[in-house]
């Protein structure tokens, strides 16, 4: 654990040496964070920075960064991962995964490629069919967690090794 901590700190420090060296609570801007290898190729990188930043504007201190890494680590319980996954995919922040959120997620997943309108509608309809238990056209956290924690691939893919 100690080695993970020190390597995390080293990586964070290297992003902006002048700033972090002096100030333990220095905040780094989002575009600097997105140059980290863990985040640079990730279509959800911005969302991750936004969620974990305490000031909700995408700028993270070292503690926020550590928070992020701890949620994505191997030891984090599935419930924690599901919770944060829900927050990441909830683009409009209304505590529900509605049609717009699902469409945005799918678009980001296939990014240079695109689905036609009809295909996208069909996909969203399939997803809602599978998970929406109360038929309100949106996924609440309980429904999301119920389905996602059953998937063994979720824990494997929602993981960053530092």
């Amino acid at each position: 654990m100690l080695s993970c901590f020190s390597s995390a700190h080293k990586r964070f420090k290297n992003l902006a040496l002048e700033k972090v060296g002096h100030n333990r609570n220095a905040k780094l801007p989002m575009d600097k964070l997105l140059t980290l290898p863990e985040l640079r190729a990730n279509p959800f990188g911005e969302r991750m920075c936004l969620i974990f930043s305490t000031t909700k504007d995408g700028d993270c201190t070292f503690e926020d960064f550590l928070d992020m890494m701890s949620v994505f680590s191997e030891a984090a319980p599935k419930s924690v991962k599901a919770d944060y996954a829900f927050r990441i995919f909830d683009f409009d922040g209304d505590d529900y995964l509605g049609r717009r959120d699902l469409e945005e997620t799918i678009t980001r997943l296939v990014s240079p490629q695109r689905f036609s309108h009809s295909d996208m509608d069909a996909l969203v309809a399939r997803v809602l069919e599978e998970a929406d238990l109360d038929d309100d056209g949106m996924l609440s956290f309980a429904e999301f967690e119920h389905v996602i924690s059953k998937s063994p691939d979720f824990a494997n893919s929602f993981r960053i090794r530092l």
Binding site: M1, S3, P37, E38, R40, A41, N42, P43, F44, F52, T54, E63, D64, L66, D67, S70, F72, E74, P77, S79, V80, D83, Y84, A85, F89, L102, T105, I106, L109, V110, S111, P112, Q113, F115, D119, A122, L123, R126, V127, E129, E130, A131, F144, V147, I148, K150, S151, P152, D153, F154, A155, N156, S157, F158, R159, I160, R161
Partner: protein
């Protein structure tokens, strides 16, 4: 600092704590905090490990968790005077349990950290994703396991044997310089008698004709290697003493250490399979199918860190989702009954063909082995010859070519999902491997069981002639275990060399075609096929298990092989190869690979057990000379020492077995 809390968070926190920590007192405690903002004194006995678990599972920012922990421990230390004092015994008990918990955590951390090859693995995973990463992790896991076993074997079997040889050689050198030729004849008598006394001379006599180290010996494992500790034949069959009063019985050590190695392998791999199965095969059959949700939300691999790999992953997800939607639309069309029956017949036909081919291959191997041995019957089997390499070369070629052919065939069989294709492939390749190895062991085992050979008859009758004829003397020194060990060694080495050769060819090929566009065949070659590589790894490991009894240094050889393979494959993968575009369900396939390894291990262990119980030991080589069956050695031992029987009897009691299994899970 209460502004860190807002109502919603506080309620959630108390909920979590109430559920997760024992003692209903917490309801009161936390509702008190919520209302007054003050923390009542928390007795030290309640700050138990489950408490920290609850804290960890709370989905709140780190800052908040630190604040909570700080408050609790601060209150705890400051309120110690005010708290009720606990008795000395309870205090001791809880301190011990805290220490134990912390120690367990730190051991788990250190053990799971695996700083071996951490950076390299991270690089590969970042470029290729978790699929290829899981192959390299499998390799590392087997490496570490083999490393521990090598240490065990080298420490308890190899080193004493080497020490014995050194000390014995010094003694005998000084002895033989004094004695004339009569001693030499008596020397030989002692060897050919095969009687229990004077054991120290017999194994030395076996090694007494030192073969010169020929250039081809590295490949064939014969010649000079036969006289070294590489094989079963050179091990001493009694005890010796280095220091006064201390005896080390090499034969006992050999028997028990090899048995222990198998048990360790079984326990570790079984444990891993059970853990993986528990984690990955959570029952989804009873619930509604959730393929779309899983595809959308768990398909992005967060460990990817290279733009190229990310682009590939995006494409692959797009393909998967398109495929899924196609299938959904096709599913609505009901297949006619006739079409389904036809499909099943086709699959059946293919299976029968494959099984037939396997039988033919097995029979062909048997013929090859038979012919190979008959050639050598007139001469000593210690001479290394290029003809010895024919069998390993053919086996290696079969193991390289046939799986690719099987992979190609399976696409025509009409399996619907790529996962079924993968599983069918894996099963067939494992069957191929087991056929070949089974034929090898079976051949040697049945051969030396034949009554025509002089070893199994009463050795006294043949002794009279030994001083006269050299050839029968040599036949009696024929050691079937060493020969089998040699075959395993040759298989390992030739397989390694052929794969190196193939990699070099691939390197040249990829350098040549770098600028040009790739056709389908080239794409096939330049793909990092996870299943092929993992099956190769399982094949190597099975060779290790098969050869462990006959050639105790197989773990060391496989260890070296794995190290070199790791670095070469990593280099090739990062520079030249591309990942498979098809989807890869890493979690479940990892379980399947470990399960296949377990199956191979169990079969090897059964073969080993069968050999121990029924196999005939060679009369004048190895640690079990003089015993007809290997298991007679064990009975001999237990007669002398009743304690061993008692220990074994105790271990096999159902209560103990159940306890061990419970701990494992």
């Amino acid at each position: 600092m209460c502004e860190l809390w807002d109502k919603k968070e506080n309620i959630e926190f108390s909920e979590t704590l109430r559920i997760n920590v024992y003692g209903g007192r917490y309801e009161e405690i936390w509702s008190l905090w919520y209302h007054t903002g003050c923390l009542p004194s928390v007795p030290s006995r309640d700050l138990c490990p489950a408490y920290w678990e609850a804290l960890r599972e709370l989905c709140k920012p780190l800052k908040l968790k630190k604040e909570i922990r700080h408050r609790l421990t601060a209150r705890q230390t400051s309120s110690q005077a005010a708290a009720r004092t606990i008795s000395g015994w309870k205090h001791f008990k809880y301190t011990m349990s805290m220490h134990w918990y912390k120690m367990k955590q730190s051991v788990q951390d250190a053990f799971h950290d695996y700083s071996l090859w951490h950076k390299e693995l991270k690089k590969v995973e970042g470029t290729f994703g978790t699929g290829v990463g899981s192959y390299f992790r499998f390799l590392r896991y087997l490496f570490i396991l083999n490393f521990c076993i090598t240490l065990l074997v080298c420490g308890f079997i190899l080193t004493p044997q080497l020490l014995f040889r050194l000390s014995d050689e010094n003694e005998n050198l000084s002895l033989s310089s004094q004695n004339g030729p009569e001693e030499e004849i008596a020397f030989e008598f002692a060897v050919s008698d095969g009687l229990p006394y004077d054991r120290s001379l017999s194994s030395l006599a076996y090694a007494a004709t030192p073969e010169k180290f020929g250039p081809i010996d590295w490949l064939t494992g014969s010649g000079w290697f036969v006289t070294t500790e590489l094989y079963y034949g050179t091990y001493h069959n009694g005890s010796f003493s280095l220091a006064s009063g201390q005896h080390y019985n090499v034969a006992e050590a050999y028997f028990f250490v090899i048995f222990l190695c198998f048990i360790i392998y079984l326990v570790v791999i079984l444990h891993r399979v059970i853990v993986l199965y528990k984690n990955n095969y959570i029952d989804t059959v009873h619930d509604m199918p959730s393929t779309y949700i899983k595809k959308v939300f768990s398909s992005w691999d967060f460990s990817i860190s290279e733009k190229k790999a990310a682009a590939l992953k995006h494409k692959s997800i797009y393909n998967e989702l398109t495929e899924l939607m196609q299938e959904y639309m096709n599913d609505e069309v009901n297949e006619a009954f006739c079409a389904r029956v036809m499909a099943m017949c086709i699959k059946l036909v293919f299976w029968v063909i494959v099984l037939g081919v396997l039988c033919v291959l097995g029979w062909f191997m048997y013929i090859l082995l038979d012919n190979g041995i008959d050639e050598n019957v007139g001469e000593t089997t210690n001479i290394s010859d290029v003809s010895l390499l024919i069998y390993p070369l053919i086996v290696t070629l079969i193991m390289m070519v046939v799986p690719s052919i099987l992979e190609g065939i399976v696409r025509f069989e009409g399996y619907r999902s790529p996962r079924h294709i993968l599983y069918v492939n894996l099963v067939r390749t494992i069957m191929l491997e087991l056929t070949i190895l089974g034929v090898l062991i079976g051949f040697w085992y049945t051969r030396e069981q034949k009554p025509a050979l002089p070893e199994t008859t009463d050795s006294m009758d043949v002794d009279v002639d030994t001083e006269d004829s050299d050839s029968t003397h040599v036949q009696e020194r024929y050691c079937w275990e060493t020969s089998l060990g040699e075959e395993v060694y040759r298989l390992l080495i030739i397989d390694f060399l052929v794969s190196l050769l193939l990699i070099i060819l691939l390197l040249i090929f990829s350098i040549v075609t770098r600028k040009k566009s790739l056709g389908r065949a080239q794409q096939f070659l330049l793909e990092f096929s996870i299943s092929r590589n993992t099956l190769h790894l399982i094949y190597d490991q099975t060779l290790l298990w098969v050869g462990l009894f006959f050639c105790p240094l197989t773990p060391l050889i496989v260890l070296l092989k794995m190290t070199i393979t790791f670095y070469i494959q990593k280099f090739m993968a990062l520079r030249f190869l591309r990942a498979d575009e098809r989807p890869w369900r890493a979690a479940q396939t990892e379980t399947v690979f470990f399960a296949l390894t377990l199956v191979s291990l169990i079969l090897s262990f059964l073969a080993y057990g069968f050999n121990i119980l029924r196999g005939h030991s060679s009369p004048d080589c190895g640690p079990f000379q003089g015993y007809k069956h290997y298991v007679d050695f064990l009975w001999d031992l237990t007669e002398n020492q009743g304690t061993i029987l008692a220990v074994i009897g105790w271990i096999l009691r159902p209560g103990v077995v159940a306890g061990i299994l419970g701990i494992l899970m």
